[in-house]
């Protein structure tokens, strides 16, 4: 440090010097590091938030510029703002529908109360509201259908995957079946599932709607495979050293699975689960469209058949929401994987 700086320090207490006007050449080494660090931090923020933000912005720009140029029989394709308007309309419709429902139940209650007043022994009928399902009702239907199908598939695929990963003979027996059924499109399963369900699931007071069972089983059939295959591969590739430890300790099959197989194959298992959930979500929308089962797929199909000037916008709202939900489901699995994984430092993406 030169004398001039020392002089300055004596006269002016350090903290009163505004930071910005210190030229870099006079900065202390520690300050330089600090400065550098904050610029690194800024770099990280920019990379993680700024760049994706710019990406979306550029996409929206292209969208709003190009969409009006595509004319269809239902008018021009709406840009981002048009789609947002449709989203608000959908929200309004939902709120309206809920109000109607509330009023319906209120009226019903009043009616029944009057009836009871006249005649305490009167038979009272309580009817459920049967208004049309709004966009948000459809989202909810799709969500629980996909999750039920996915959970059921996982409950089958993980144990079968573990068993076939542990035993080469079983794997050899199951493998051709997996390979043949894996590429089958959900649309091919759907008619069979529908026929079987309507033949087998006969009940006067069904606990679930048939449409729900159909969609759910189709989803299940299509999302079994990635989990099954990845779990089997994960289990089969456990290091020989760990298997030897288990042999020397004479661990029982259950202890072996719990203490060694499961923790070792969790990364592969979750890779499979995430692939499965992604497939499940895609399959469900397609199945709902084809079978007219309640859910987002039906919403899209209804709007398409409706053919109003708003339809394209409403379908695009659905597309964006389907995408966002798919993304959200994947993040959910990621969080679950982080929770289940023993290696918290592993880079999971």
């Amino acid at each position: 440090m030169n004398d001039a700086v020392l002089e300055m320090k004596k006269i002016v207490p350090e903290k009163t010097i505004p930071e910005k006007i210190i030229p870099e050449s006079q900065m202390s080494y520690a300050d330089k590091i600090k400065n550098n660090k904050s610029s690194i931090n800024f770099g990280i923020y920019f990379k993680n938030i700024g760049i994706p933000f710019i990406g979306i912005l550029v996409f929206l720009m292209f969208w709003s510029a190009l969409a009006p140029k595509v004319n269809t029989s239902l008018g021009a394709i709406p840009g981002p703002s048009g789609v947002y308007q449709q989203f608000q309309t959908l929200v309004d419709e939902h709120v309206e529908e809920r109000e109607k429902e509330e009023k319906f139940y209120q009226r019903q209650e009043e009616r029944n109360a009057k009836k009871l007043e006249k005649n305490p022994d009167a038979e009272i009928k309580v009817r459920a509201y049967t208004g049309k399902a709004t966009f948000f009702d459809q989202i909810w239907t799709s969500l629980y259908t996909v999750l039920t199908g996915f959970i059921l598939a996982s409950l089958i695929a993980i144990p079968v995957g573990i068993i076939s990963g542990l035993n080469k003979t079983i794997y050899a027996a199951i493998n051709p079946i997996i390979q043949i059924f894996k590429p089958v499109s959900p649309l091919a399963w759907l008619p069979i599932v529908t026929m079987v369900v309507s033949a087998v699931y006969v009940s006067d007071d069904p606990m679930f709607q048939k449409s729900f069972i159909n969609s759910m089983i189709t989803v299940m059939l299509c999302c079994l495979w990635p989990t099954l295959i990845n779990t089997a591969v994960g289990v089969a590739s456990i290091s020989q050293d760990l298997k030897n430890v288990s042999k020397v300790l004479q661990l029982s099959v259950i202890t072996h699975v719990v203490k060694i197989v499961l923790p070792a194959s969790i990364p592969m298992m979750f890779t499979g689960l995430r692939l499965s959930l992604g497939i499940a979500w895609m399959v469900l929308i397609a199945a709902e469209m084809l079978a007219q089962n309640p859910g987002l797929g039906k919403f899209v199909w209804d709007e398409f058949q409706n053919g109003s000037s708003n339809s394209l916008g409403r379908i695009m709202v659905a597309v964006v929401v389907i995408g966002l939900i798919g993304f959200m489901l994947d993040r959910m699995m990621l969080a679950l994987q982080k929770y289940a994984s023993w290696d918290k430092t592993a880079d999971i993406r």
């Binding site: 050293d241 430890v245 042999k247 661990l251 070792a264």
Partner: protein, 267 residues
């Protein structure tokens, strides 16, 4: 004839390969007394580990067999604990839990919870790992992992302790530390040990007998050297001991004169 504690009789093993069976070991005969520390030494690839794996029960001999206390060995078992070369600790369990897994397996119904805990801690103490016993393997050094591996094997109170190049992956200083620890433990417990090594000094320092193996294929026992150095042994004192150096030279002569590696001969 008195029965040996551990006896290998005419052990041969063949592995199937696409070009026909490969004979790795041929007619290994070895008798080991209780409390004896035996080292197997030989060039890499000569089948030392195969011998150990047969004793452990991980491989089955094609011919001949192994008797431990008069019982035939044909499957892995906790009475023949193994210390693996690369520690083989379960990475998702802490050091303590790794040992606990073995202890629970061996002493199920014989020790209660408190006794097990004391026993695990006792063994951790033996290998000087009490300070880090609740850390996971990826949080401790290579030498410490191997200490835990040894603690796990010791905690099983094995009839024979099998060590497969236990210090092979460690640096020289850490290795010396662990050898000293092992000698100390061996003084107390007097286990029957078979150790595989390719380190001549380690073999002479630790063993009662050194079994030198010929090169494969069809490897067998070349020579057996009795090490008559009194215990406890001290590496510094032994460095100038003519007897020690004589043993060392014997092993070196076997390895580098009589059993030079084939590719070296060709060169």
């Amino acid at each position: 004839m008195t029965q040996a504690y551990l006896e290998l009789t005419k052990v041969s093993i063949e592995f199937p390969t696409p070009t026909g069976p490969f004979k790795a070991l041929d007619q290994i005969d070895l008798k080991i007394k209780e409390g004896e520390f035996v080292s197997l030494i030989g060039h890499s690839g000569c089948g030392k580990s195969t011998v150990l794996n047969i004793v452990a029960g991980l491989y089955q001999a094609t011919e001949g067999g192994v008797l431990l206390k008069g019982r035939e060995v044909n499957a892995p078992g906790a009475e023949r604990a193994v210390v693996f070369q690369n520690h083989s600790l379960l990475p998702w369990l802490t050091a303590y839990q790794n040992v606990e897994l073995a202890v629970k397996q061996v002493f199920k119904g014989k020790k209660n919870k408190k006794e097990m805990k004391e026993w695990i801690e006792h063994n951790m103490n033996l290998v000087h790992m009490s300070h880090a016993m609740h850390k996971r393997p990826d949080e401790i050094s290579g030498g410490m992992k191997q200490r835990v591996g040894i603690a796990r094997a010791l905690a099983m109170e094995p009839e024979v302790l099998l060590m497969d190049e236990p210090f092979g992956a460690l640096d020289a200083l850490t290795r010396a530390h662990l050898q000293d620890s092992l000698m100390e433990i061996q003084n107390d417990l007097n286990n029957t040990v078979i150790m595989i090594t390719h380190d001549v000094d380690e073999a002479v320092l630790l063993s009662d007998r050194i079994v030198m193996m010929t090169n494969g294929p069809a490897a067998t026992i070349g020579e057996i050297l009795d090490i008559e150095l009194k215990r406890p042994r001290n590496r510094l004192e032994l460095a100038d001991d003519p007897k020690y150096n004589h043993y060392r030279a014997d092993v070196l002569r076997f390895l580098y004169e009589k059993q030079r590696k084939p590719e070296e001969k060709a060169a």
